[in-house]
Subunit: 233 residues, 2 copies
DNA sequence: CCAAAAGTGTTAAACGTACACCCATGA
DNA sequence: TCATGGGTGTACGTTTAACACTTTTGG
């Protein structure tokens, strides 16, 4: 995958291990809070380095695994979750980021609220993404970057559904945006924006229970494809 | 940099080599063409696999090198160039992308027109980015993705300077945009857009030679910092 | 004086945003 | 009937895009 021309002063392909980790976002509705909060699952490390500290779920890249496969696998193994969205975030490879040299290919993912609500395995806990403790390695920076990407991407793509069930109301959708962007959105303008985009399909269902019933929508999965540029792999 | 919890079914940290390659963009003015074209340097492979085919400049990651350092180094070694812009593009790691397992961290870079005009080393040649021959490995896809990113980024950031010398006219700048986006832009509106952004500093110089002289500008380097989000490393 | 690029002005459509208002339900 | 969220209408400021027009040079 590369061209080795001229003489490399650095040691030729030294022993560098490749890891894959994932920043997993979901939403959690606290009884007290008015707005859902963005939460991520972390794993407590059971060995050195950084034993006892919380870290992103991940693992070593297998010899016969693609990167995305490895992300899905480690995500499932460590948290038991299946993501509704998965995308590469960045490759981290600073020499001093770990006592033993390792390059981490980091992915980020979304899991639906109902899925993330299931009881977490031992050693896994959910944290508010905006107020984390000190994590192992450079994982605090990584989460920070992933959050930035999430907020950014919510502005120009339809990833918000990755956090919603099949059917949802416009208020549900708006709540997701409000939770991610951390600010109020005008319900009237929000409605127009989404139905101008033409990605929402109204169903015959309504959600009842409080005040006027709200129409249930689902996403038009046909639009999914044209969404992003020439995505690799 | 990762958490090894539970048992990994895949072979634990197998021997996977890490390479760093770079897609380098510059502009070339052909005498005949009205608009500059986007060009990239490629290196002819001197060994298997894909011997004799053109490939992206790159090399193996050294044991004591950060990723960006490796990108700069291989870029310099293989092409003799120093970039004015360098950013990570994507990590490619499909199992079948190379006969021997390798993960490539790919960067993309810009070099100024005057720099890229210097004679290229043996085994290095410049190609029009939009009409490449069949390259080694998955490098055609990688260039395609890099081009998409370049076009995208030119729309919301000021990377265009990476292709221009210290002093330039608004027509120069507009030509860069036109070359990348491959369409004409209205000179009047373009002028207003850039000086609304406040990133351009007018100098006292003018470029003369044909018709009315055009004012020379330079970039405000103080604006550089706030540009992007929480950039890692 | 003429051609052509540099640079300014004007207008209309598109878009974002604020907010007044009506509708339908549970309590 | 009232409170509240669902849903519609409207008005206004900003941005985008098209294009007419004036300025300044070389030839």
């Amino acid at each position: 995958m590369t061209t080795t021309t001229s003489t490399s002063p650095a040691t030729a392909h030294a022993d560098i291990r490749v890891a894959v980790s994932t920043v997993i976002f979901s939403l959690r509705r606290e009884p007290g809070r008015e707005r859902p909060s963005v939460v991520i699952p972390l794993v407590r490390r059971t060995r050195a380095p950084h034993e006892g500290q919380w870290a992103l779920p991940g693992g070593w890249l297998g010899a016969d695994e693609d990167l995305e496969m490895a992300a899905s696998r480690t995500l499932r193994e460590t948290t038991g979750l299946a993501p509704s969205f998965l995308e590469q975030l960045y490759a981290f490879g600073a020499v001093d980021r770990s006592p033993t040299r390792a390059v981490s290919i980091v992915y980020w993912a979304l899991v639906r609220e109902d899925v993330s609500a299931r009881p977490a395995p031992e050693n896994v806990a959910w944290f508010d993404a905006t107020s984390l403790p000190a994590l192992a390695f450079d994982h605090n920076q990584i989460v920070e970057y992933a959050l930035w990407r999430l907020r950014n991407k919510v502005g120009y793509s339809r990833i918000a559904h990755g956090l919603l069930p099949e059917l949802f109301t416009l208020a549900d959708l708006r709540e997701v945006y409000e939770a991610i962007l951390d600010r109020r959105l005008d319900p009237a303008n929000f409605r127009r924006q989404v139905d101008t985009s033409g990605t929402l399909i109204p169903t015959d269902g309504f959600r009842t229970g409080s005040h006027r019933p709200a129409r249930l929508y689902r996403y038009d999965h046909d639009v999914e494809l044209a969404e992003r540029g020439p995505l690799p792999e």
